[in-house]
């Protein structure tokens, strides 16, 4: 280009959920600008929650995402329950974990096998990869179907489940309903171990990132619905204090808000963060799979996130089997709920990372206002920084190859643009 600037654009990012793009401006060996453009229209969920009954929050927010509706239901229902002073006892607590495991299995498996693996193996899409790597894709589909079926049973249907309510569930399964899943999840767990070995054999571009990693931490469990929000730089807070520590700001190029830790800056949520902060809470089998795959106590190469995600699928199958073995249905599917005015905040671990909800309720349980901070808007700035760190080492690549690597780097964090709007196409401008 005449002014010496090189621009690479991805006008429409494929294999991510939702609509977005990327612009990268390079002058010499310096990245001048990197922007994730999120142009999926804003969706105003927070506004449409106002004036609705708090009992509706789990089902309304489940519609935010077709791939992680349980995450929305879980953050919503726990936030509303905290506002109402409701604590859901065992075994309902266990059933919520089981439902969440089904979503992790489904979401992670789709991302690993159909969306991210083609990047590592040099295929433009899953279909062309499947012609050669037939067994791997079939294995992925089989694991995913196990998650789907469990979701359909516990959630009432595969997509946008409808069985979660404030105080518990509408209907709980009998032991006999869950019994057929034991063999299926056992096979899925073996397949997931095979997938860990498969992804661990990929070639990973070199990149080490000094992120602040943020995830839930629970006294005994690998985190799903409960725990304090902790980070690798000393954050240790309750969900009620999230907004005092995390600021959201608008940026002109995105319909998603950018989040940062007050006084510090960007941070990362998701599998890499959960693993770094909770590897000791994984099941023995998942821990061993992580060791065998060459993962240390933490993983700071974003491209290896696919390995961590695969380890989490092993864990989710393991955890689901444990929960099913222990399942004794309660006398009632929900505990009584008394409406009252109040504010409740909750964070849960969506497949893509921490998902924050806050609701302020009137005395009759009407939602006065709501706030939702999805994982992708928390990661958006970090994804831009990953690219700024990665691109200067790869400027010798052609624009097409560089574009491919950038897309892969974005998919490292499995961004869900549909969720983040209030998120992606790649343009690289070189000088």
């Amino acid at each position: 280009m005449s002014d010496g600037t090189r621009t690479i654009r991805v006008d429409h990012l494929a294999r991510v959920e939702g609509e977005g793009g990327l612009v990268l401006k390079v002058r010499g060996d310096r990245v001048e600008d990197v922007r994730l453009d999120i142009f999926e229209p804003p969706r105003f969920f927070e506004a449409l929650l106002r004036g609705r009954a708090c009992a509706e929050a789990p089902d309304i927010t489940a519609r935010i995402c077709g791939i992680c509706p349980v995450a929305y239901q879980m953050s919503a229902v726990h936030a509303v329950e905290r506002a109402l002073g409701v604590v859901v006892p065992e075994p309902l607590r266990a059933l919520r974990r089981l439902l969440y495991c089904a979503e992790w299995i489904e979401s992670h498996t789709l991302h690993i096998h159909l969306l991210h693996a083609p990047d590592f193996l040099g295929y433009p899409d899953a279909v062309s990869m499947a012609r050669v790597h037939r067994d791997a894709v079939q294995r992925g589909l089989a694991i995913k179907q196990a998650g789907n079926a469990l979701m359909a049973l516990l959630g009432g249907r595969e997509i946008h489940p409808i069985n979660v309510r404030v105080g518990g569930f509408y209907k709980v399964p009998a032991r006999s309903d869950l019994a057929p899943f034991v063999e299926r999840l056992d096979r899925a767990r073996d397949a997931a171990l095979e997938t860990v070995r498969w992804v661990a054999s990929f070639d990973f571009p070199e990149l080490e990132r000094d992120w602040e990693l943020v995830a839930l931490r629970h006294p005994t469990d690998y985190p799903l619905n409960e725990g304090r929000i902790v980070s690798t730089r000393g954050l240790d807070i309750d969900a009620a204090d999230y907004e005092a520590h995390v600021a959201e700001e608008q940026v002109p190029h995105s319909t998603a808000l950018h989040a940062r830790i007050v006084g510090r800056g960007s941070y990362l949520v998701g599998p890499l963060a959960r693993y770094a902060l909770n590897a000791d809470r994984l099941s023995p089998l998942a821990r061993q799979a992580a060791r065998d795959a060459g993962l240390g106590p933490a993983c700071r190469n974003p491209f290896r996130s696919v390995v961590v995600r695969a380890v989490e699928v092993v864990w989710a199958c393991d955890e689901a089997l444990r929960l099913i073995a222990a399942w004794e249905p309660p006398d009632a599917p929900a505990v009584p709920v008394t409406l009252r005015a109040g504010i409740g905040q909750a964070c849960t671990e969506a497949p893509r990372g921490l998902l924050y909800h806050r609701y302020r309720l009137d005395a009759d349980g009407t939602i006065l206002d709501a706030k939702i901070v999805p994982p992708t808007s928390q990661n958006q700035r970090t994804i831009e920084e990953d690219l700024a760190a990665f691109v200067p080492r790869h400027l010798a690549l052609s624009d097409d190859d560089l574009r491919g690597r950038c897309e892969q780097a974005i998919r490292n964090h499995d961004p869900c643009i549909s969720c983040a709007t209030h998120f992606l196409q790649l343009r690289v401008e070189r000088a």
Partner: protein, 149 residues
């Protein structure tokens, strides 16, 4: 099993659920022996179903046709219709068929698609619009003719 009829769609997204509505109509009216009716909620489930070694009829909503229009298509005509990727993570019906073909040496010997035209579905709606509801018996008859033929 002599033939497999698959209804695709999401009833929680208004007219997008028409494939399921047609399936329910066939179930209510009865189908010839050996014809199996299956509902697929999302396209990855479709990949496995398409490996069936019997003729398959797929019923789905088509956003590029006039609301209520009933059409019959072959799998290779999908690209020409410009079916929009409503499915999560971009695995639409066309890609699901391509993936099934990539994965299996032999998929179904015959795949026909009965489509019902719909307007772009809203974010949150249940039930069919009048024009699409009126098309359900016609679409069911078209499916019946295919599996009886």
């Amino acid at each position: 099993m002599r033939a497999l009829v698959i209804g695709l769609g999401q009833p929680a997204a208004g007219d997008d659920g028409v494939g399921v509505a047609v399936l329910e109509r066939l179930r209510a009216d009865g189908v010839p022996p050996g014809v199996e009716l299956v509902r697929a909620v999302e396209p990855t489930a479709l990949v496995e179903l398409l490996a069936a070694q019997v003729p398959v009829v797929l019923i789905d909503a088509v956003a590029s046709a006039a609301p209520g229009e009933v059409l019959e298509l072959g799998p290779d005509e999908l690209a020409g219709r410009g079916a929009p990727p409503y499915s999560t993570h971009g695995l639409d019906v066309e890609r699901a068929i391509a993936l099934a073909r990539a994965l299996s040496p032999r998929i179904t010997p015959s795949l026909r698609i009965v489509g019902v035209g719909i307007a772009r579905p809203p974010r949150r709606a249940t039930g069919l619009s009048p024009a699409v509801a009126a098309a359900v018996p016609r679409a069911a008859e078209r499916v019946r003719a295919l599996v009886e033929g």
